[in-house]
Amino acid sequence: MRKYLTIFLFLIAVTYSGLVTGQQRFPKPEFSSGYVTPSPTTPEPRANLLEYADVVVLLVVLSVASWIAIRKRSRRAMLWLSVFSLLYFGFYREGCICPIGAIQNVTLTFADPLYAISISALLIFLIPLIFALFFGRTFCAAACPLGALQDLLIITPFSTPVWIRKTLSFIPYVYLALAVLYAATGTDFIICRYDPFVGFFRINATFNMFLIGACFLGLGLFFARPYCRIFCPYGALLNIMSRFSKWHLSITPAQCIQCKLCSTSCPFDAIEHPTEEQKSETTQGRNLRRFITFGLLIPVWILVGGYIGAQSHVFLSKANPQVHLTELLIAHPELKNDTGNIDIQTFLSSGKSFEQQVKEAQIIRHKFYIGGWFFGGFLGLVIGLMLMNQSVFRKRTDYQPHKGDCYSCGRCLKYCPVKKDGTVEEIA
C-alpha cells in the first residue's frame, strides 16, 4: 500500500510540476505521435418520431378493433388483431410505455414540477379512454398486449358467482388509488414495478417478475384474464367509461330470440341474462328506498374512507425509500456501523445532516397524510357508488353484454344464430 501510494504521489508530483491548473490529477497528455483522442460512443435512445408512430399504430388498431366489434362482428378478426398487438406492443415495443403505466406519468405531471408527461405518452393514455366512451373496451379486446396474452391462454374458464366478481372488482380501484398516491408522492411506480407480463415480452427479467407472471398465466387458464379483472387499474377507468359508451358490441345483430345459446359463451361472465317477470310493487319500493339510502350514505363513506386513509399515512409512507431509510436509522442506530449496508453508508458519507434527512422525510410523510385523505375519500366514493349500483335493477328482456365488464372480445358473437337480416340460422 505504502509503495503504491508513493508511486501515486510521485506521479502527482511529476504531472503536477508543469503548468497545471489543478483541474485533473493526471492531465491529458500531449501526444507527439499525432494521436487523436476518440470520443465515447453515445447510442441514441429511441427516436421521438417512432413514439408518435406508436400512437398512430394504437389509433389504427383501436379503430379497426371498434369496427370489428360493432360492424364486422367477427371473433376471428378480433383474435388476429390482438395477436398483432401482442407482437407489436408486446414483443416489439416490449411493454413500455403502456396506458396502464401512463396513469402514474399523468399523476406525476401534476405532482412533480420538474416532470411533465411527453405528448406521445399522454395520447397513449387518453386515446383508449375516449374510444371506450364511444365504442366500449375495444382497447382491452385487441390493443392491450397484456390482455391479448391472457386472452390467448384461456383454456377452461370457470364461471364465478356474481358476489365474488363484484367484491373482487373493488381491488382495481384500490390498486388505482395506491398507484396514484405513490406516484404523486414520488415514491414508486407500483403498476410498472409489478407488471406481471413485461418480462415475457423482453424474455429478460428478474426471477420474481417471471414468477408473478407465471402465476397470473397459470391462474388465467381457469379464471379468464385474471390481471384485467382483478388488478388492472386502467381497466377500472375503462370500465367506467364503457358503461356510458355510445355504441357497444351487442350479442345479437338483430332481435334476440332468447335461445340462451350465448349464455355460457363468455369466459368473463359479462353476459347479463334477461330479468325475471315483473316484480311486485313492494319489492320495487324496497329497492328504491335502499337505492336512496345508499345514495345519501355516499358522503359518509367518503368521510370515513378519508379518515381511515389519512390514519394509514404512516404505514403507507414506509414504502418511500427516504422515509424507510430515515426510520431505519432512528429505530436501529446501530446499523450505522454496518459497513455492508450501502444505503446507510452512502447517506452517512453524503455529508447531509440527519436533521435535514428527517425534515425531508417528514415532508414526504405529510404529503402522504394529505394524499391519504384523497386516497381514502376516493375509495369511500367507490364503495358508496358500488353499493348504490347493486340496488339498481334494470329490466332486461334480452341477453346482452354488461357494458362495463365486457371486453368486446367477440366470443359470444359466433354463438348467436340470428343473422343481420333477422333470420335465424338452422343448427344441425
Binding site: Q24, F26, P29, E44, N48, T109, I342
Partner: protein
C-alpha cells in the same frame, strides 16, 4: 308509454354522463398538455453523484444491465498505472488476471506512445459493476463513468436501478440529452 319514458330517461343519463366523462378526460388531457413540453424522457446517471455501489449491475431489469462503463477520453490521463484497470497495490504492470480490476476483462489496454495507454471498454463484456469506476475516481481523474446505454435500456417507466440507487444519481432527463459524459473534474 311508461317504458318509453324509462328508456328516454336512461338515454338522458347515459348521454349526460358520457359528456361529463368526456369533458373530464379531455380536460385532464388538456391540463397535462399545457404542462408538457412535448419531450420524451430517458434515464441518466449523474457521474458526479454516482458512488459506484455496484447496484447497477444487479438491479436493472435486464441481465446483463443496460448500464455500462464509459471512458470519457477527454478526462483520461492515459496513465500507465491506470487505477481503474489495475488492482490496488499491483506489483508489475502486466495484463495477468491477478492484476486486473475488471471481473469480465472488458477493458482493453492499448499502447499509444511512451508512457501512455488508451483504455477502451468492450460493452459486450461490461456488466456495469463499477469496480473500475471506483478505482479511477478515487485515485485517478475519474474518466471511467457509468452510463445508461440507450441501445440496451428499455426506458422503463420507472427505472428499477433508480429506485435502488443509494445516492439518487439516476434521474429522468429530456431525451435530447441522454448522456452525461464527464468533461471536467468537478461539475461546472
Amino acid at each position: 308509454m311508461a317504458d318509453d319514458k324509462k328508456l328516454n330517461r336512461r338515454d338522458f343519463i347515459q348521454n349526460s354522463m358520457r359528456t361529463t366523462l368526456g369533458i373530464a378526460v379531455v380536460g385532464l388531457g388538456g391540463l397535462s398538455m399545457l404542462r408538457s413540453k412535448g419531450e420524451n424522457w430517458v434515464w441518466q446517471i449523474d457521474p458526479f453523484k454516482c458512488t459506484w455501489c455496484g447496484r447497477c449491475a444487479t438491479s436493472c431489469v435486464m441481465t446483463p444491465s443496460a448500464v455500462k462503463c464509459v471512458n470519457a477520453y477527454d478526462l483520461c490521463g492515459y496513465c500507465d498505472l491506470c487505477t481503474g484497470y489495475f488492482k490496488n497495490g499491483v506489483k508489475d504492470l502486466n495484463t495477468g488476471a491477478e492484476n486486473l480490476v475488471c471481473p469480465t476483462s472488458a477493458i482493453v489496454r492499448k499502447f499509444i506512445e511512451e508512457p501512455y495507454f488508451q483504455f477502451d471498454i468492450v460493452e459486450k463484456l461490461c456488466i456495469g459493476c463499477g469496480k473500475c469506476v471506483k478505482g479511477c475516481t478515487q485515485f485517478g481523474n475519474g474518466s471511467f463513468i457509468l452510463q445508461i446505454r440507450h441501445d440496451r435500456c428499455k426506458n422503463c417507466n420507472e427505472c428499477a436501478i433508480a429506485r435502488m440507487c443509494p445516492s439518487d444519481a439516476i434521474k429522468r432527463v429530456p431525451a435530447n440529452t441522454p448522456y452525461m459524459i464527464k468533461s471536467d473534474f468537478i461539475r461546472k
